[in-house]
């Protein structure tokens, strides 16, 4: 038995850290004409996670795709994480998954084909767990390898959960701890503790399905999932789309074990600085906010948790329910307030 192929040897940046810088993307997109259609319910204008198209009075179609280069060494785990991440966009809109198609870039001459088999098996596991089926895909010869899914889901047109539905007074809940970008970077430079890194991988593998079901059960009107732009980047998109200011209490934001210690050593993924540039004009950071904590709020997440607003009287019930369905670190992390000068206020 030879040593298994280490997928991390193929990449410098991986996961959502590999996203094009948000400011750069916005500059390109603003030159494109935005299509409009009476049935188009959610488009890119609100930075939502997926497009939503009304088919009839009962059904709206959710379409999304996501793919990236390896975030871990092992093919099976990479497949699971990439799939969980892609499926998450349907869940973030409050939907359920119907079908998915594989998106694969794989250099057949440079990596054993068994690794591709493992990646696809990992993806298939997660699509099945999400309640969907894989109906096909497309593979090109490419380096470094890439994997993800194009996903189709459905939601009732009156129950779409978007970035734009927050109102002042709502309480903000985050379902998973943050720090995956820092843990992955820390593992690559040999500083992360194994147990912390394994927990980060498990968090990234965890589907947001039960979180989406919880949102629907509690009539949550507004939510997203936290990915490459970090908690504050996605919070800013929600605040702007909804016309509110989001107040985030840094001390209440759950962190993955080991993330803070890594940040303290200077293990700050480059994407944190990109995200800082993205949000800083519209964010007020509290005086004396701890620097490592501030940067972790900008940590790029791969397959991060759901972040949603709920009426204050339902907040406790929401957190309790999330704990019961497997999100042990779910917590209230802030609230929406009347729109002020900034999109986000970070308090200690």
């Amino acid at each position: 038995m030879t040593q298994p192929f280490d997928l991390l040897t193929t990449v410098e940046y991986g996961g959502c850290s590999a996203k094009l810088a948000p400011g750069l993307l916005a500059n390109v997109l603003r030159h494109l004409e935005r299509p409009t259609h009476p049935n188009l319910m959610v488009d890119i204008s609100t930075h939502d996670d997926a497009g939503v198209y009304r088919l009839d009075a009962e059904t709206a179609l959710i379409q999304t795709l996501d793919f990236f280069s390896p975030v871990c060494s092992d093919g099976r785990t990479f497949g699971r994480i990439a799939a969980a991440n892609a499926l998450s966009d349907v869940f973030a809109m409050g939907g359920r998954v119907l079908t998915a198609m594989n998106i694969v870039g794989f250099p057949a001459s440079r990596i054993p084909l068994e690794v591709l088999g493992e990646i696809l098996a990992g993806g298939q596991e997660k699509v099945a767990e999400a309640g969907g089926i894989i109906v096909g895909g497309h593979t090109i010869d490419d380096w470094p390898p890439k994997y993800g899914l194009s996903v189709t889901g459905v939601v009732h047109p009156e129950r779409v959960i978007t970035n734009a539905g927050l109102r002042a007074g709502m309480v903000m809940i985050l379902t998973k701890p943050i720090g995956t970008g820092t843990l992955v970077a820390g593992q690559r430079v040999g500083l992360a503790r194994d147990t912390d890194y394994l927990l980060a991988l498990a968090t990234m593998e965890q589907l947001n399905r039960a979180g989406a079901e919880t949102m629907q059960a509690l009539d949550v009107p507004a939510g997203t999932d936290i990915t490459g732009f970090g908690l504050l980047g996605h919070a800013m998109q929600m605040a702007d789309a909804s016309g509110v200011t989001l107040r985030i209490r840094a001390a209440d934001v759950p962190l993955l074990n080991g993330a803070y210690e890594l940040a303290e050593t200077g293990c700050l993924p480059g994407a944190m600085f990109r995200n800082l540039e993205y949000v800083e004009q519209k964010t007020r950071f509290a005086s004396g906010l701890d620097y490592s904590m501030k940067m972790l709020l900008l940590d790029p997440q791969t397959s991060g948790g759901l972040f949603f607003g709920v009426a204050p009287e339902k907040a406790q019930q929401a957190v309790q329910r999330l704990h019961e369905v497997g999100y042990a670190r779910a917590a209230v992390v802030g609230e929406a307030v009347t729109r002020g000068e900034c999109s986000i206020e970070v308090v200690r």
Binding site: A185, L191, C267, A286, Y291, C342
Partner: protein, 203 residues
């Protein structure tokens, strides 16, 4: 004082930052530190990290090699994990000096230039020192590379005076403008700092 050299060439992000932070921790206050990197993104991230933590940074580029020079200062994150750029001015006596022009006063420009030089050189000796020096409008030109006032500004920073530079104003003066002193800031922080200060002096 010997310079600590951090050779982070060939290291991928975030390793250069980790090595830099380690060097800061191991150094004595005010010790000069030089970091070598060969990647522009790493260079920008290290610079941003240092500035955010209140350190004045000077970077030179030779081909693909970036040389980042700075000195650990007394109130950096090794001593205090809060970001000094966001710390409120301390005590009732705190004040902010705000310069909206590269020449002080409304007299002839030659006189204004003399007064500016005098002001920046005297400010370091003033007790108590201001918490912040805010540069906006054409005041940001005092901080650009090649300005005769860069050294004075650096001295003020070393005295613990935060030099905040209006980013919008720097952008206005365009791409040729390079700044390696102070902290590029935004209107919000600039207003916040002035609002929190006991007094704002605008000579």
């Amino acid at each position: 004082m010997p310079t600590t050299l951090v050779d982070a060439r060939g290291q991928l992000c975030p390793k250069p930052l980790i090595l830099t932070k380690q060097a800061i921790k191991d150094s004595t206050p005010d010790a000069p530190i030089t970091v070598l990197v060969d990647n522009e993104t790493s260079c920008q991230n290290v610079e941003r990290f240092l500035r955010d933590n209140g350190m004045a940074v000077q970077t030179t580029r030779d081909g693909s090699i970036f040389t980042i020079r700075f000195a650990r200062n007394a109130n950096d994150m090794a001593a205090n994990d809060a970001s000094p750029a966001r710390l409120p001015p301390v005590g009732n006596a705190s004040y902010v000096v705000s310069l909206a022009s590269d020449t002080v006063g409304r007299g002839p420009p030659e006189l204004g230039a003399i007064l500016t030089k005098g002001l920046l050189e005297t400010l370091k000796a003033v007790s108590p020192a201001p918490s912040h020096l805010v540069l906006y409008s054409s005041g940001v030109l005092l901080a650009v590379d090649g300005s005769p006032h860069v050294d004075s500004l650096r001295t003020l920073e070393q005295r613990g005076i935060q030099v905040l530079i209006c980013g919008t104003c720097v952008d206005y003066y365009g791409k040729n403008v390079e700044i390696h002193v102070g902290t590029i800031s935004n209107m919000l922080t600039i207003l916040e700092v002035q609002a929190a200060a006991g007094k704002v002096i605008a000579p």
